[in-house]
């Protein structure tokens, strides 16, 4: 089980690095929002793996809460982008 922990830790670290690179380079705000969503999914995956390997349930409510309200941020930002780019003066 420790081997699984090492493998998944390396995999998730590489995935988080990729998502953070996409947040950094953009090019648009929506790409960054999408990459932030993926980063949240990777965080939830790390919490689940911690629970599974160490056999505890300390993070369970956090995982449920993330799955319930995790979409609000990207919905808000997407709405903001749509409203802002509709202004005729915004080129």
């Amino acid at each position: 089980m420790q081997l699984v922990l090492v493998i998944t830790a390396v995999t998730l670290s590489l995935a988080a690095a990729g998502a953070i690179v996409r947040i950094a380079v953009g090019p648009s705000l929506l790409d960054r929002v999408l990459a932030a969503d993926v980063l949240l999914a990777i965080l939830g995956a790390a919490l689940c793996i911690d629970m599974a390997v160490n056999r505890h349930l300390n993070n369970l409510m956090l995982v449920v809460a993330v799955s319930v309200i995790g979409f609000i941020g990207s919905v808000t930002v997407a709405r903001f982008v749509a409203d802002r780019r509709e202004q005729p003066s915004d080129s």
Binding site: T11, D37, A41, C48, A52, L60, G70
Partner: protein, 136 residues
């Protein structure tokens, strides 16, 4: 004791496979985010850890803990993820379409364009009704 030990080994192996594959989903999403050319194809890659990856990892948690009452909670988490991910994907995709963050030559079909053209024609014919349908 031998059947119990065998069953434990099998459950451990299955959950280990679930965890490795679930983590690989996250890595696949990251690679897709980095390599795909526009917002729409990146959205396609981003859904892998959100749905299948979360399912595999929640199943691994349930298998490792060996209790029955945990499964409804894990199912709740996954159902809520299934309900909320399409909402954000819809909003992001719509905003991306409206702000032209897509490579139109890569689309195989564009069903929204006909609707947009129709709405634009209606607006042009009757400018007074423009306030009704510009939102969302």
């Amino acid at each position: 004791m031998t059947p119990d030990t065998t069953l434990d080994t099998v459950i451990d192996a299955v959950s280990a496979v679930f965890m490795v594959v679930g983590a690989a989903m996250s890595l696949g999403a990251a690679i897709g985010l980095l390599r795909f050319p526009d917002l729409m194809s990146r959205m396609h890659a981003a859904t892998k850890p959100q749905v299948l990856g979360l399912f595999l990892l929640l199943a691994a948690v349930g298998l490792q803990l060996r209790t029955w009452w945990i499964w409804p909670v894990l199912l709740l988490a996954w159902i809520f993820q299934l309900l909320t991910v399409p909402v954000s994907a819809h909003m992001v995709g719509r905003a991306g379409y409206r702000t032209k963050h897509l490579h139109r030559e890569l689309l195989s079909t564009d069903e929204l364009e006909a609707v947009v053209q129709k709405a634009a024609a209606k607006d042009a014919a009757d400018p007074a009704s423009k306030d009704d349908d510009g939102s969302a």
